[in-house]
């Protein structure tokens, strides 16, 4: 199992150090702090928008997950807002590119 083989199946994993428990990003076999082995686990699909823009009619954003890692993805529904919540609803590899599709919803009070 590795990050790409699972992403191809639509599963979004993160690498976490077995020793110091740090999330290592981009995904890697070894920790970039203690250099010991990482293990793979599912990433929470719920994230926070850090910044966004729009190409033609499609929003894209930098979103943070597990309060640690940041990726860029397409927002397929909802109007984004900084600090708003996104959920990854689809991911994979297409034409050798990763893709992450997210829905956006406003923070509820």
């Amino acid at each position: 199992m590795n990050f790409e083989s699972e992403l191809k199946k639509g599963k979004f994993l993160i690498s976490e150090c077995n020793h110091c428990k740090k999330i290592v990003w981009p995904p890697s076999e070894f920790c970039n702090q203690c250099l010991k082995e990482n293990s793979w686990r599912k990433c929470s699909p719920i994230g926070t928008i850090i910044e966004f823009s729009k190409k033609e009619n499609t929003y894209f954003c930098v979103a943070k997950f597990e309060n640690s890692i940041k990726i860029i993805g397409e927002i397929i529904s909802g109007i984004p807002k900084v600090n708003g919540i996104v959920k990854i609803v689809d991911c994979g590899i297409k034409n050798n590119n990763y893709f992450f599709k997210m829905t956006s919803k406003m923070l509820s009070n």
């Binding site: 990003w25 910044e51 990726i71 860029i72 590119n97 990763y98």
Partner: protein
Amino acid sequence: MPKVAIVGYGQTKFSKEDLKIESILLKATKNLFDSTSNLTQKDIDAVLVSTNNNSKYLSAILSEMIGIQPKISHSIESLCNSGTNSIVSAYSYIKSGLAEVVLISGAERYDSPGQILEWDNLRGEYKHPVFWASIFSKSYKKKYDVTDEDLAFVPVKNHKHSKNNPYAFSQKNISIEDVLNSKKLTDDLRLLDCSRPCTGGSSVLLASEKYCKQFTDCPIWITGIGQKTTFASFTKNQTFHNMESTKQAAKSAFNMAKRCQNDIDVMEIHDAFSVCEPMALDSIGFSNQGEGIKMIKESYSSESSKINPRGGLIGSGHPLGATGISQTIEITQQLQSKANKRQVDKANIGLIHNMAAAATSSTVLVLEN
């Protein structure tokens, strides 16, 4: 420890020509030989090539084509700041005594593979630089209450300057309206906010203090060097409204040169996109955070060409491996009072800022006459 000077240079016009990379390297180097007094092939100890091109063994190939058998020859790739990285390597070879005279040649084709960083997959489908530039623009505008119209002063100023640069890709003036009405790539970036990939080459000759007088009466000394790599991946930047690697590289360069921002008479800033120019001015410390655009507008209205006199990357074009070298040639010419129509008054100390991959790495050089 020997001092290190820039003693010669040669460039090709930046264009969309379909030329072989070897041919571009050769032309820029031939121009350097033609314009440098007393230079012969046997004077050169090392040949460094700066490029993102996929062709291999280019420094040996260039050496073969110009009849040099150097002690040291290799290529250097660091995306958009390959050029200044090569200059830092050449400086180090001379300082260490491994070489006395080093030839550096940078070249790129308009279709360079260096425009996309394949490693940075976590940008998903948004790997093209226009997307990180859009995120930078959005973040900078919001944080500092800057408008698209404010940012448009960068390409307007830089196209105006590039008209006086015979090697520049752009030779025409543009207006604020031209920028705002140019093709909208995203909500936060228009076509005229972007530097253009192009074909071009530039070569520079570095020599130790002992040998520099052989080639020129006006050696330009490299007195400050700062480099910093924070990450490789764009999204790992801590914020999207300043450039941490630039800030740290500038601090190191000023410390080494024992100079400060107020000492700088002329500067080359890596304006890959409009927003990069004010962000870099803030991060180097020429302006307070968020006030870079004010400095740019003041410079434009006073008709000063102190910031990016050759037209920056936006006006000159951006052949990745050649860019940092052309920036260095510009500052060298300014400090030699040989910049013709682009000449800045009383230019004695200059700065070069060259960065790569959304400012995840930066190089800053200080030059003095």
